[in-house]
């Protein structure tokens, strides 16, 4: 099982005149941790949104476990604006809503934490299990699925223990400290039983110690849940520490890719990050 979990082909996302993601080609192998980095506004979150079905791409294709989950070719107005390569390669339009893609096994977290604020920590995770429910609405209402319900609750408890939030299970999600909220978001994503986990800046706002813990945590869950991880991150130490491969975006374009070492020494990357002008 060392196949490619996620692949994008010439993926492009354009908002009016802004090409937020420009011809992105990535391949994420099973069991790897792949990082997507780049300066602010480079198009990283947009790339996530397109991959998870939030936006329909302007052009290109997203392939998840050999299944095309999103595809589009520039049409009408976009055709005139769009100047990317391979404008004629893609002929179909494949649209999937985010919930469908999640049920296929892709889970994500958000850059600006989006928990179910008024609900408890336990409920936040339990709700994420709903997407795997077998019982229909009527049988759930009449509790004919009480075995399933109990299993869901036990698994939730188990998961909370694994991520170290068990003693906070009854707390309101919004009352948790920032770092724990990020952790809860990861737990909630895990509860959907994903094979690929997308993390959007999981270390944002964390201090160095928390960041270090998070690095270990990501490695741990990757192994124990048999995951493939794709993450966006600004903390370079974290990225260099855990990534197998890094893609660097700048103004939507992929300016570099490779192992942490290769990327670190890439002049284009240094230029993009330090903002050095070309002489």
């Amino acid at each position: 099982m060392n196949g490619i979990v996620l692949k994008t082909e010439h993926l492009t996302m354009q908002f009016g005149g802004v090409v937020a993601v420009d011809d992105l080609n990535i391949e994420i192998p099973q069991g790897h941790i792949t990082a997507l980095i780049g300066p602010n506004g480079a198009g990283k979150t947009t790339a996530f949104n397109v991959i998870t079905g939030g936006y329909m791409p302007t052009n290109g294709r997203v392939v998840f476990h050999d299944k095309v989950i999103g595809e589009n070719h520039p049409r009408s107005k976009m055709k005139k604006i769009y100047n990317g390569s391979d404008r004629t390669t893609f002929h179909h339009q494949v649209v999937n809503t985010p919930d469908k893609i999640t049920r296929l096994g892709m889970a994500r977290t958000f850059q600006n934490i989006r928990l179910f604020k008024e609900l408890s920590v336990f409920e936040n995770v339990l709700i994420a299990k709903h997407c795997r429910i077998k019982a229909g609405m009527l049988s759930a209402t009449f509790r004919l699925n009480h075995v399933e319900e109990r299993t869901m609750r036990e698994q939730t408890q188990e998961l909370l223990k694994t991520v170290g939030l068990a003693d906070l299970a009854r707390e309101k999600a919004s009352s948790l400290p920032y770092g724990k909220q990020r952790r809860l978001e990861i737990a909630r994503a895990l509860a959907t039983s994903p094979s690929l986990l997308l993390l959007d800046e999981p270390a944002a706002g964390m201090n160095p110690k928390e960041t270090e813990e998070l690095a270990q945590f990501i490695k741990d869950i990757k192994d124990s849940f048999n995951l493939t991880v794709f993450l966006i991150e600004h903390h370079m130490n974290l990225v260099m520490d855990i990534s197998d491969k890094i893609y660097v975006l700048d103004y939507g374009k992929t300016i570099a890719m490779g192992t942490p070492k290769e990327v670190q020494n890439d002049p284009a990357v240094i230029r993009a990050y330090l903002g050095v002008e070309d002489e």
């Binding site: 985010p98 919930d99 999640t102 958000f110 709903h130 429910i133 759930a140 209402t141 009449f142 509790r143």
Partner: protein, 378 residues
């Protein structure tokens, strides 16, 4: 142990409430108004809870309740008006021959059918509304917040206009409305007298809604309320779950509408105008958006104060020979509005907020008070 205590307490209070109802039933001659107010409250409690399912638990701000109630009310009424009264009711335009034939056929069925028929009629009305909701839902549930509210409000008005249109004279009796609707039927061969039927039906329906809310699907509804984008990212299909909530809410609103028809004995399209939705919204807001017990409590408080406790303000009042000027018909609504504003200002999120009634809370409060007293003594 605490759990069994709570169960015992709940069973006891339900029993006490039932006992009071049976006592009122025995002395119904002198308690007409009280019974009538309580029945109306029970019906409104069901509509309020079903509105709360949509607005409070799923976060869909819909104002179409009256429309769905009218679907239930008209369907139930048409099905239940006795065959021999049809000519009297439809005296202006006559009744559609198909409907008459159906009713004649149904009235010839054996007695066991006749005894469940009123409930069958309620359910048919509710199912009809559910079907309409599932069709309309495809269009309106794509809308967000205020737009959804306006669309559902419009829908409700369209339904009302349709029901009073001359084209439907043979079915809805157009602007003349329907009357001679039979009152509440008895249940279980008389074990539940007619007066108590609406309470039982409402209680059963509300219980079903609560069971749904507490199931995995109910949790999915709440997730949508909290954050649509996150809910969708957690694999919850927005369209599927919003439709479910909308259809179920419409189903129970229509069922309550059917009961309202039995309660009022005569209905017309005007009964189901925007003011009705407004009244229900009021109950939901007063009780607490997102609290089932709040809606039930709100239904009883609002109905009782509007129709009973504040009646006093409508009577002319003389104090020491001085005729107090404000005490005239309609003044109670002014007082009512003032009380409303006070409740909203004091309890910003309704009487119950998003909490539910629980015995632990009540006992918890007592304990807390006791502790404080002890602390003061030492």
């Amino acid at each position: 142990m605490r759990r069994s205590r709570n169960t015992v307490l709940s069973v006891i209070s339900a029993g006490v409430f039932l006992a009071i109802l049976y006592m009122l039933n025995l002395n119904r001659a002198g308690n007409g108004m009280l019974i009538s107010i309580m029945q109306k409250s029970a019906i409104f409690a069901l509509v309020a809870v079903s509105m709360n399912l949509l607005n409070g638990f799923t976060g869909l701000f819909s104002l179409g309740q009256a429309g769905f109630m009218s679907i239930g009310a008209y369907t139930t009424a048409i099905l239940l008006i006795p065959v021999q009264s049809l000519d009297g009711v439809y005296y202006m335009n006559g009744i559609n021959p198909g409907i008459r034939a159906l009713k004649v056929f149904l009235s010839a069925l054996p007695p066991w059918f006749q005894s469940v028929y009123p409930f069958v009629a309620l359910i048919i009305g509710a199912l009809f509304a559910a079907v309409i909701a599932s069709i309309v839902g495809v269009a309106v549930l794509r809308l967000k917040s205020d737009y959804l509210a306006i669309a559902t409000l419009g829908l409700s008005e369209i339904i009302r206009a349709l029901f009073s249109s001359p084209q439907l004279d043979g079915i809805t009796n157009g602007s003349y409305g329907l009357n001679k609707i039979p009152a509440f039927p008895k249940m279980f061969g008389g074990l539940v007298p007619p007066i108590i039927t609406p309470f039982i039906v409402s209680a059963v329906c509300i219980t079903l809604i609560v069971l749904l809310i507490r199931s995995s699907y109910g949790r999915a509804f709440m997730a949508i309320r909290e954050d649509e984008i996150a809910a969708e990212a957690m694999g919850i299909s927005l369209f599927k779950h919003k439709s479910m909530s909308f259809i179920i809410s419409s189903f129970f609103s229509a069922l309550a509408g059917g009961m309202l028809a039995m309660y009022m004995r005569s209905i017309e399209a005007k009964t189901f105008s925007i003011t009705l939705t407004y009244d229900i919204l009021l109950i939901v807001v007063i009780g607490g958006i997102g609290s089932v017990t709040g809606s039930v409590l709100g239904a009883f408080l609002v109905t009782a104060s509007k129709e009973w406790w504040l009646r006093f303000f409508d009577q002319p009042l003389e104090l020491f020979g001085w005729d107090v000027p404000l005490f005239r018909t309609g003044f109670r609504m002014v007082i009512f509005s003032i009380l409303l504003m006070m409740v909203v200002l004091i309890y910003r999120r309704g009487l119950m907020g998003t909490n539910e009634f629980s015995w632990d809370r009540i006992f918890g409060r007592f304990k807390w008070k006791r502790k404080k007293v002890q602390g003061g003594g030492s």
